[in-house]
Symmetry: C2
Subunit: 274 residues, 2 copies
């Protein structure tokens, strides 16, 4: 795709929000692998005058462990720049006095160490992967169906993601399963929740129209950002599929081959604009 | 609930269709347990002049093994009287030249022994229970997402059922999961599919208004039968929950404590009517 129609002009753009998995790296065995050109692209954005944050629905590890992995892959990223759903969920629990039953990845459990989980009055599901066994899903179901007012939080609502050995089902699939089983509607914490995007914008001190979201997930990254008033760019890496470019309702402001190319366009345009 | 308002008068009633699990017995360890009074109730219906069939979404065993279990529990039932989804599914595969990838219970696999499963061009899911692992659901997902025109058959669409040790998630929950993952609509084979009910009525040689369905599942047994023009009675056994009697869209023609009580009313009324 040509650079024509690039959505944000050099003058108005003040910050960029990047999705992580499928944009910076592909997950898989061990730490996964960096997507070619993405380490350099992040470096170039950091050296620019743009605000930069990372907004992810990653829920397989604590924020610290997750960022350490990205650093090992070669990315210059710090914990304070990364926004995952778990800390946002813990804030909601506190606010509403809720005690969760957790169906999450073992790696995420330490995030909830300080949270009261006795006699649960809600259920939180994350990308539990292998922990999405029949037995564990039944257990979460039984907690919900036993509550007078069942509350289900889903850390994201993705359909699937790509690991080095193929596509894998994401938390949204199990959210839909429990919604149907219990005849309820889950509350999504993470992308594409507007509250979640707004918290990142607040941290950047920017208005939506000053920021650009770059992701591989057309609905949750691009559509979610657009719904908040940001521009949304899709990369043709990660879970991208050609049919995304014919989606009936979500149309990316631009579609580019990868992050390196997106950064070329952004910085090139600013260079010309300056 | 009193017998007032019993839905079918003695004259017009010519046949009864019974659901099995939750009406005749509760499943669980081993063969499960017969619900008190149900063995005698089936016997009394068989001795009457009413046509009797059994319509089930059971997909954990072949029809032969399943009927043998019911016989061990003490029920006078033969294979030709029982209508489960798997034989109906095999007929559909043949008709449409489809080769399935199966995500079903190990016990059901022999039903598909003669079916060509090479290079699959559709997916069939049944009540796979412990086989609903993350890995197996991923595998079914990958088959579907790799097809140009993905076809998913679901043997039933139940939310959950009751075993002796508690409620368990049913196939419908995983149907919704795969529907969301692949952005498609599954074809349901089994209750409440009108085609499925109609095949049982044809076998009985009856019109819908001449038959009564008795089940514990308000939506799939009662609602499904009503949609076909039959009357639908719910028993307060199996997966019945008090909230069923306040359901916003499905209203049973009658609700009774158990099958024995339903048969008392049916045969008592016919005695008076005769």
């Amino acid at each position: 795709m040509a650079d024509t129609g690039w959505p944000v002009c050099a003058k108005s753009l003040k910050g960029v929000i990047l999705d992580l998995c499928g944009v910076l790296y592909d997950s898989g065995e061990g730490d996964g692998v960096a997507i070619p050109g993405s380490i350099e692209a992040v470096k170039r954005l950091k050296e620019s005058d743009l605000e930069l944050r990372f907004c992810t629905n990653e829920t397989q590890a604590t924020r610290e462990k997750f960022v350490a992995k990205l650093q090992r892959l070669g990315f210059d990223i710090s914990v304070s720049e990364v926004f995952p759903p778990a800390p946002a969920a813990i804030a909601v629990l506190k606010e509403r006095g809720l005690r969760p039953h957790l169906l999450v990845h073992d790696g995420l459990l330490p995030e909830f160490d300080a949270v009261d989980k006795t006699n649960p009055n809600c259920v939180i599901i994350g990308d539990a992967a292998e922990n999405f066994s029949y037995q564990n899903l039944n257990e979460a179901f039984r907690v919900l169906i036993g509550l007078e007012k069942p509350v289900l939080f889903s850390l994201g609502q993705g359909r699937y993601y790509k690991e080095t050995d193929g596509l894998k089902l994401d938390v949204g699939v199990y959210m839909k399963a429990l919604e149907y089983a219990c005849d309820l509607k889950a509350e999504v914490i993470g992308k594409p929740s507007p509250t979640f995007f707004q918290s990142v914008l607040s941290d950047m001190g920017l208005k939506p129209q000053e920021a650009l979201m770059i992701g591989d997930d057309l609905v949750n990254d691009v559509g979610g950002a657009q719904y908040c008033g940001m521009k949304g760019v899709q990369v043709r890496t990660g879970k991208y599929r050609p049919s995304d470019e014919r989606h009936p309702t979500v149309i990316a402001d631009a579609t580019v081959d990868n992050l390196a190319h997106a950064v070329d366009v952004i910085l090139g345009q600013r260079g010309r604009g300056a």
